[in-house]
Structure formats: C-alpha cells, structure tokens
C-alpha cells in the first residue's frame, strides 16, 4: 500500500501556477526523489504535503486516509531547505521544545534526544547555543530534530548542502537505516548524483508540472540512446559500419551509437568475424543529470502563465 498518494494537486498563485495537476504515489519504506530545477514548484508541493499550505484542488492521501493537517503532521518530519533554529536558545532545550511540538511528552522526548545525541557524538552540545555551532553542526542538529519523533514520512529538502563528506556519509547512512526500518523518505534536490545513489523512485517536475515518474533504472532504460563503449586490442580500429555510428574515439576506446533496435549480439559476432579483438563492451546509460537537463530544456518553451491558457 502506498504511504502517500497525491492526486491532481493544484496550487495557483496570483501570477502563476506553482503546482499544476501533479499526481504520484510513494510506496512505504521507499526513498523517493523529488527533482526539479529552481522554481519548479518543489517547495510549494512539499508545503502542501506538510500541511503548511492548502491545495487549491486535488487530494492528498496519507496512510490510506485523506490528509488532515492537525493529525497527520505529527507523523511527518520536515527539514526545509532554508533551515532555522532559535540562535539564542540552548540546544538541549530547543530540541526538546521542537519534539514537544510534534506531540511527544517531555520525558519521551528527553530519552530520544539523548539517544540521538549519543549516536552523533553531540552529548557535549546540550548547554551550548545554536549560534556557537558551525554550519555543518547545525545541519546535523536540524536532522536530529526532523527525525526525532520517529515520523513515518520524512521530507528532506537538500539535506546534504553544506555538509562535509564525513557528515554527509553519516546522514546518508541514517537515511538508509531509517528506510530499512520502514520510514518513507522524500528527498528533494537538484543534485542528480545524490539521487542516483540514494533514491528508489523519482519524480521530475518542471514549471509546476510532472514531466517524469518512475524507478531510477526504468527511467534510464527509457531514455537510453543505444550508446555503447567498445574497447578493442591496442592498435586495432573499428571500421565504420552500416549499423552504427562512431561518436567518439579515444585510443582504442570507441563510443558508438547503434542504429535503431539493432541486436548487440549480431554486432559483436559481426566484429569478431572481422578479426577485431574486443576487450570490453559496455552499454552507456544516460545519467540522470543528462536526462534532467534534456527534459528541462525541452520544456523551456512551454509556459505556465495563465494568459497562454486563455489565448
């Protein structure tokens, strides 16, 4: 059963359609990537899912029931892109306070905070103030406040920005751990490398509309351009053939593109028959980055201003 379902969600502002008819569903325990260029409507979409905004139209189904902010926001942890904590407040008190706002009582909150602080080596921070922490430390603290109440849905908006590789790894491991324990994670970013690494499923939105939806592997499969890397023995060259085009050559490494749905086995036996020694033969799948850029650029011509709809 899907943990979260979004059906035909719309949110229009005075001058533009921020979110225009977006639907998707997220399986329980999966890590879901919400991608899109700046200003695509990601934050607006997330704010509707976290109950900060009401959608103009459409429906959000959370844990099988229509989303009801009062009740369901306690089951959600949201780390916005622009993070913030009270600068002058002591860290221990602050985390307890935010946990209480999520419905935990003081005692429960205290135990959980202690456990997380231990895990991240933050015990000595208790009486310090946020303004004394470095940016990376604040980020870790913010992550703890987001997941402390053990929400079933965790929404992380650019969680790795500003983190050094060590801490980024720490957080990444936590994200995987949480997903294994049944948490569902929505991961919003425009850094494709992170997405390929972490996400099971992605949705790409641009200008308020969904342009892509599916598992990372499936999408790559879908956007593949039949490119292959062929490595031959030293000194040998690939003769031009009618079934493929040579796109690039680097010493004895050739990047080729097959015409149409040409069978790779047939190509290989053809090459072998010509006495070419094949050292390696790899399919080159497009990176999400390439797909992202291609789709966003394709989309550039369309607009979401209201005037165009009228004419």
């Amino acid at each position: 059963m899907a943990l979260l379902e979004v059906n035909h969600l719309k949110k229009y502002y005075a001058s533009q359609k921020a979110v225009d008819d977006i639907s998707f569903s997220i399986a329980r325990g999966s890590i879901f990537g919400l991608l899109g260029p700046n200003g695509a409507g990601k934050t607006t979409l997330l704010r509707m899912i976290t109950g900060i905004f009401y959608p103009d139209e459409g429906q959000i189904i959370f844990e099988g029931r229509p989303f009801e902010a009062e009740r369901d926001i306690l089951r959600i942890g949201y780390m916005p892109e622009e993070r913030g904590l009270y600068k002058k407040m002591k860290i221990g008190e602050q985390v307890l306070y935010l946990a209480q706002l999520k419905g935990l009582n003081r005692q429960e909150a205290l135990e959980k905070v202690k456990r997380w602080f231990q895990k991240f080596g933050m015990e000595s921070w208790w009486n310090r103030k946020v303004e004394d922490l470095s940016k990376g430390m604040q980020q870790k603290l913010q992550f703890v406040t987001t997941v402390l109440h053990e929400p079933s849905l965790i929404i992380l908006d650019e969680p790795f920005s500003g983190l050094d590789p060590v801490n980024a790894n720490l957080i990444r491991d936590e994200i995987h751990g949480l997903a294994e324990r049944g948490c569902t994670i929505i991961f919003s970013t425009h850094r494709m490398a992170e997405v390929e690494e972490i996400c099971d499923q992605i949705v790409l939105i641009n200008k308020g509309r969904k342009v892509l939806d599916g598992a990372v592997g499936t999408i790559k499969e879908q956007f593949k351009e039949h490119r292959f890397l062929v490595k031959t023995a030293e000194g040998q060259t690939l003769p031009p053939g009618k079934d493929y085009r040579i796109l690039d050559q680097d010493a004895s490494e050739f990047t080729i593109q097959l015409n149409g749905q040409h069978d790779t086995n047939a190509l290989l036996s053809d090459l072998i028959r010509q006495n070419i020694t094949i050292r390696a033969f790899n399919e080159i799948l497009p990176s999400l980055n390439d797909i992202f850029i291609r789709l966003v650029n394709d989309n550039q011509s369309t607009t979401r201003a209201f005037q165009n709809n009228l004419s």
């Binding site: 900060i52 009062e70 926001i73 999520k102």
Partner: protein
C-alpha cells in the same frame, strides 16, 4: 499538552530567564526610587542654609522678613561696605544687602545682594520673594487706617476652600485627573512596549527561518497566539512585580527618611496658614487615602488588568502581522507600523480631551471604540463611568480582539513564509480576505 501552551511557555521562559528581564523588572523601579529618594534627601539635608545680613535703610526692614531654617536674615547697624565685606570673608554671613539711606520701599529702590560665592536661581528667587513680601508689608501699613494691624488685615483675607460634592461623595477631581492620566499613559506605554516585543519575536522567527520548521508542526495561528500569550504573561508578571515593588518601596520611604513629611512641608514657601496646624504633607496623605477609598480602587485595578490584556491582545496581533510581513530591514517595520501606531496616538489625544471632559461625546466614543477604549476608558474610570458603558466597552473590546486576531492570523500565515520584497498593506489585506 496544547500546542499554544507549549509555545507560550517557551516564549515566557526564554524572556523571563534573560538577565535583561531581571534588570528591567527589578532594578529599574529600585533605581527610579533610589533617585527619587536621593532628590528628597538632598533637598532636605544637602542644601546649604543661607544667612543674609540686611544693613542700612534706616532699619526699615528690621523684623519684617520671614525666617526659616534654610534662609535666615539678620539685621545689622553696620553701614560701611568694607566692614560688611570683612564679615562675609569671616564667613559670618553668606551675603549682605546694603539698603540705601534713601530706602522708601517703592519701585524706585534698587537692592543689591553681595555674596562671595554664587547663589542658585532657586535661592535667589527665594530671597527676592521674602524681601518683596517684607517690602509689601511696609507699603500696606502705610495704606491702613491708624490702629489697624496687618494681622487683622490678613485674617480678613483668609480664603475658605470650596468643596464640590457629587452624589454624596466628597470631590476628587484633581485626584481623578491624576489617576486617569496615569492609567491612560501606562496602557499607552504597555501597548507600545509589548506590541513591539511581539513584533520583534515574529521577525526573529522569520529571519532565522525557524518559522517554516515550526509551521510544519503546528498551525501558523497557534504559533502566533502562543507568542502573543507568552509575551502577555511576561508583561503581566512584570507589572505585578512592579506594583509590588512600588507599594513596598512606598512603605519603605518614610522609614528611610523619618520626618520627611514635616521637612518637605517646612520647605514649601509662602503657603498661607501653612505654619499653623498639621503640615500639608500629612493633610495631603490623609486626603489621598480618602480619595482612594472614594474612587473604588479595586474596580479600577480590575479594569486596568482587563484593559491591559484586551488592549494588548488587540494590538499585539496587529504587531505580529507587521512582524511577519517584514524581512530583515527594520526600516520596513517602521513604515508598516504606521497604521497601527496612529490609532494608539489618536487614543492618547482623545484621552487628554476625555480627562477635561469625561462625559463628553468624544470621550464616550473613544471609550467604546475598541482600538482606543483601553487608553480612553482607563482615563475616564476614576471620574466614575456608568456600568452600561463599561460593559459595552468591554464587550466591544472582546469583539475587537477577535476581529484583529482573525485579520492578523490570515495575514500572518501567508506572510511568515514570504521572502523577498516588502509587501504593502494593500497586498496584506488581500491575503487576509482571500478565500481558503
């Protein structure tokens, strides 16, 4: 626990635990009273007593000048200025006035006070007044028929104070004016001080970007109300401490300066009949406590707390709306605050009118209209206000509070997550009345 309570608790505790809170709440009244005490102390003890010698003028003024502790006159037969100078240098006198032989006690006489050290303005006026009073006696005596004494003349001029009674009570107009003014100005200050505190708190949440984290846990309205209630509680506690301190210090002051009343009374110059009978200070104290009894202090105190809370709630939600709309720039806040500060200042203007004419139409309007009633009604209360007006005013106050909170809540929830350019009031009102 209710979310609003959790938020209010944090707002309250973080402010009360600050050192500045302790400083302003406890130290400020102590400092003010300390200064007050010092002023009294110095005005009693610290002043140098003046001793002035009067010479020449055929002893016309002898025995005609009033003496008291701080200013004494002696009459000398010496007429040589050099000898008088010598007396000054010997510190026998602080100064001397050598009257000319042609002294006739009329406008053509010129008098000169010779001193070694300079004389303060107050002291100079004091001496001048005593001298002229003495000279007046001489002139008066010339006009009187033979056998008529000045004392008889004085007793003929004795004034009988007029007492105004209203509905069986003794009058207390002056007291009511003072109390009304004091209450009104106190509410006026409260609205600004705590309103601005709410606004700064909201701005802090917005600029530090914690607002978005919190509104993903609670409704924006809960966040706003929690802040307003928390800071309101801070204000209430601060006021209760101040009231307790003021009462405590008021009781302490006479203990620190025993006999203060008598000396202040002795200080007061030229009060006719003041030297006889009990001192005016003691009289004033008695009168004050009598007025307090008449003015129904418990009702005023209760209304003060009600209007304090009502006025605070009305305005603080508006201040919260402004705070949510501005970004980093405090100057933006100044501009957006104008529509809120105007009614407070107008209330103050109406209040000064109401104090002079507490039953007039403007006063009635001002004390019913919820944006001005906290200030204007508090000013009218000591004069006595019909019960129906008071109840109507309180009812409007509650309605006004609900209205502004609703309006502010709608603006707040949109504005708190808006960054970028400063919105205009027009835009803010559009957010407020937008559906959904």
């Amino acid at each position: 626990m209710n979310k609003i309570l959790i938020i209010a608790r944090r707002e309250f505790l973080t402010r009360v635990q600050k050192k500045t809170f302790l400083l302003t709440t406890i130290l400020l009244p102590v400092i003010i009273f300390g200064l007050y005490g010092l002023i009294i102390y110095f005005s009693i003890k610290g002043k140098d007593d003046l001793h002035i010698a009067i010479a020449g003028g055929n002893n016309a003024l002898t025995g005609k000048l009033e003496n008291n502790k701080s200013l004494r006159f002696s009459y000398l037969n010496e007429k040589d200025p050099a000898a008088l100078q010598q007396l000054l240098k010997d510190k026998q006198y602080n100064g001397f006035i050598l009257l000319p032989d042609s002294f006739k006690a009329d406008a053509h006489d010129s008098l000169e006070l010779v001193t070694l050290s300079s004389v303060g303005l107050m002291a100079k006026e004091n001496i001048e007044r005593r001298l002229n009073a003495g000279i007046e006696k001489i002139r008066m005596q010339r006009l009187l028929a033979p056998g008529v004494t000045l004392e008889a003349m004085d007793s003929a001029r004795t004034e009988i104070p007029l007492r105004v009674t209203k509905a069986g009570k003794s009058d207390s107009t002056g007291f009511a004016y003072g109390l009304g003014f004091f209450c009104g100005i106190l509410i006026y200050m409260i609205l600004f001080i705590y309103g601005a505190m709410v606004m700064r708190g909201v701005m802090e949440e917005k600029t530090s970007r914690i607002a978005e984290v919190i509104v993903s846990s609670v409704r924006p309205f809960q966040l706003m109300m929690g802040k307003i209630f928390g800071i309101g509680a801070v204000g209430l506690v601060q006021f209760l401490i101040w009231i307790a301190l003021v009462i405590g210090l008021q009781l302490l002051l006479p203990l620190i300066f025993p006999g203060m009343g008598d000396q202040v009374a002795a200080q007061a110059p030229g009060v006719p009949g003041a030297m006889t009978g009990s001192s005016p200070m003691v009289n004033a104290m008695k009168q004050l406590s009598q007025y307090m009894g008449d003015a129904n202090m418990p009702l005023i105190l209760l209304c003060f707390i009600l209007y304090f809370l009502g006025g605070y709630l009305i305005y603080s939600s508006l201040f919260a709306a402004v705070g949510s709309a501005v970004n980093e720039d405090p100057q933006d806040a100044q501009q957006l605050m104008l529509p809120i500060t105007m009614p407070i200042i107008f209330s103050f203007v109406i209040m000064t009118q109401a104090l002079n004419n507490p039953d007039g139409g403007l006063a009635l309007f001002g004390s019913l209209f919820p944006l001005s009633s906290p200030i204007v009604m508090m000013a009218r209360l000591p004069y006595g206000v019909p019960a129906w007006q008071l109840l109507l005013s309180l009812a409007f106050l509650v309605l006004g509070f609900l209205g502004t909170t609703w309006l502010a809540g709608r603006i707040y929830r949109t504005a708190i997550l808006m960054y970028g350019k400063k919105p205009t009031w027009k835009e803010m009102l559009r957010w407020a009345f937008r559906k959904g």
